[in-house]
Symmetry: C2
Subunit: 345 residues, 2 copies
Amino acid sequence: MITECPVPRPESERVLLGHGAGGRLTAELLERTILPAFGGQDGPLEDASPLPGLGELVMTTDGFVVSPLFFPGGDIGSLAVHGTVNDLAMRGAAPIALSVALIVEEGLELGLLEAVLRSLGKAAQEAGVPVITGDTKVVGRGAADQVFITTTGIGRRLPGLTPSAAGAHPGDAVLLSGPIGLHGTAVLSTREGLGFEADIASDSRPLHRLVAALSPLGDRLRVLRDPTRGGLAAALNEIARDSAVAVDIDEGTVPVPEPVAAACDILGLDPLHVANEGCMVVFVAPDAADAALAALRSLPEGSGAVRIGKVLPADGHPGRVVMRTAVGARRVMDMPLGEQLPRIC
Amino acid sequence: MITECPVPRPESERVLLGHGAGGRLTAELLERTILPAFGGQDGPLEDASPLPGLGELVMTTDGFVVSPLFFPGGDIGSLAVHGTVNDLAMRGAAPIALSVALIVEEGLELGLLEAVLRSLGKAAQEAGVPVITGDTKVVGRGAADQVFITTTGIGRRLPGLTPSAAGAHPGDAVLLSGPIGLHGTAVLSTREGLGFEADIASDSRPLHRLVAALSPLGDRLRVLRDPTRGGLAAALNEIARDSAVAVDIDEGTVPVPEPVAAACDILGLDPLHVANEGCMVVFVAPDAADAALAALRSLPEGSGAVRIGKVLPADGHPGRVVMRTAVGARRVMDMPLGEQLPRIC
């Protein structure tokens, strides 16, 4: 009867942790497996997409599987709100409603679930967005790990804003709203008991107010992207590829907090590949760079905003991101391949 | 540093499988744990809720954790589409967009994932709704069971339709669009290898075309509810409770296919408690009953529609559902307590 169940494939063709890491393996999974399955549908899957016939409304969805559930600076509940609010914000949209679907492992302490949900509710309230619908499924012990949360958000685009990963132009300034590497190293340090937890807290926070502060820029605001899985390197590579430009980054300007650098050194991680949950890259027209920096710095969550580089013509290398080091050397900033930090969000 | 993590509670206060079963334990979890956490928000969590300020649009979300992934009559991919389309339909809405979030266990065969996604894509196309955005997370072996899918849907209400679980009036006719018990017994039989798979296939299917066929009834269409987790008994009890009425069901009219009755007998299940994924209960004004039955029967998915009972005044027992048996006896049809069939959807 079960005619649709396919013939098993060789061992090698299995899902790897890296398929969920936001790097090259994720892109392959999307292109080879996911998009063809939805081939008759409405174009590519994006982080946040316009509702058909209602272009001012955008929709985004994200599963949260972070381990441990609680970490310095946040927890899976607040993260589920911030991640979704930020996916909407990166399309220039203010959040208007969230849904929350829980998959809970049998035997989870109710008190832990309550704490996660209280944090989620508080984060939603602070972001000014209601949770309007939800679902709860329980699976047996060992069929899930504690609790997974899938949050879906609907947002309304701010008038005049149409940021897109394909919107970068040669000459544009590249800004970053705050330091990188805090979320990933905070979660990893807590999970592995590495002892950095006293010095590093996740940057998990909503970014929609920063985007609202940038809205007077109109179409001079070219690209917004929050460097989550895959880190700053993945975000810049995706923008360079989708805009068919080159991006030139000045290494010395990229803010990496000292404890993050120390943790990455010990763990063998590149801070450029580590997930963030509370900063964003902003590409703006050259004449808007100073106004954009001032707008970002006018809010606490943007107080560390800096200019980190600029967009160059592709010159035969569309999609290339190059880092200029302090001594003047140049190296290519590659797209991360696979999984550095499983279950970081 | 991890100050929000609560003090552990006694062993008894843990999440049970029954908390996800759609019965009394689910209602308790909602009332005691979930709703208070979102207390500052926008009212109760419902299966599908209006978007704030955009009342013609409704949103619903559902996690799908069914095991096995493939079963007679469907699979987790098609089920994820049908379940979400039907939640929208039960609010009188046509689906306009879906999002799909995957949580995948490391090591899952890519061929299996592809088959699930192809089925999901096909079901969406057949329902006429695009998948516009998505997300994929991968967790380590043993941290999830193969693949979980959370589908969120946005729908637009059909003009003039405002069905609600609180909308039943004394005198209303209670209709059922098709036979009950097929989905739950098909999944359970496949999972446990009970051998009923040759005779029973899930009724998983979209119901939005049936709802469209009922739309000429306008406000004489009082309630729509698909009896999924908790079965027909849970659906009728929820409606009776929310409408503060009594419901009187004629046992002999409730269509239970013979193989379903045989399977339930052997398994010790009550067909009234078994989940369905392709039928719905419809409450209509008395003078609309014949028109509603004719509209339902005009489509293949409603060809087995029947009248199964009527709404009575509460008479001091609001929320009571009573079943009249063939010999004229009357028994209360209780809300199922907890879990009969874990991971049925």
